[in-house]
């Protein structure tokens, strides 16, 4: 039931863009995105509640395609501080919350 994320890992140079995808075999009713820096706890980025919804702050945004049971996280003009592992997450009705498989993002100078 765990959502699958792609890519598993990505290395970027500062200023480059990246897209992280999250796909579920079950219907998605909401999608959460979290970032976890090395040795720290996951920190909330955003929640998308409706199909077609797009959200963003700074240069990180996300979209939610309910029909395709997918969400994507977009990181624009990446900064060193963006490095970490990104997780999507969802709670299907009647089920527990599940995090995705994670995507390790490394930004290098």
């Amino acid at each position: 039931q765990q959502p699958v994320q792609s890519p598993q890992a990505v290395i970027l140079r500062e200023g480059e863009d990246a897209v992280i995808n999250c796909s579920s075999s079950k219907a998605l009713y909401s999608v959460h995105w979290y970032r976890q820096k090395h040795g720290e706890a996951p920190v909330f980025l955003m929640i998308l509640l409706k199909g077609g919804e797009q959200k963003g702050h700074d240069k990180i945004s996300a979209s939610f395609n309910e029909k395709k049971q997918q969400s994507s996280l977009y990181l624009t003009a990446s900064q060193l501080s963006y490095s970490g592992t990104y997780f999507c997450g969802t709670e299907p009705p009647g089920n527990q919350f599940y995090f995705g498989t994670g995507t390790s993002l490394t930004v290098i100078p």
């Binding site: 976890q36 706890a41 996951p42 709670e91």
Partner: protein
């Protein structure tokens, strides 16, 4: 003030021992969670507790048991520790389950020797 706190931060113990990890949140949230993060970084839900309703991930061995003395606390008891229990355990809380932000504690790094 720390929103979600866990103790201890590090826990080193021998196989077969019983240990507990404490979690407290001062956010007034109704839902609390325990997650296990293994060496591959997978974050696996173990338990969620919402208004006295406990939802258990069926893959969690019954050596693990959550105890909630009140809404602000959800402690994790582990009996007969095994090598495979070594991981980082995170507690989290949210206003309600599903569509609310989860706030995580700093994690407890458990090493079973």
């Amino acid at each position: 003030d720390t929103a979600v706190s866990q103790t201890p931060k590090y826990l080193v113990t021998q196989m077969g021992n019983d240990k507990s990890i404490k979690c407290e949140q001062n956010l007034g949230h109704d839902t609390m969670y325990w997650y296990k993060q293994d060496s591959k970084k997978f974050l696996k839900i173990m338990f969620s507790y919402n208004n006295k309703e406990l939802i258990i991930n069926e893959t969690v061995p019954n050596r693990f048991s959550p105890k909630s003395p009140d809404k602000a606390h959800l402690n994790l008891h582990i009996n007969s520790l095994e090598l495979g229990d070594s991981a980082v355990y995170f507690c989290a809380s949210s206003l309600q389950s599903g569509v609310e932000t989860q706030y995580f504690g700093p994690g407890t790094r458990l090493l079973v020797l």
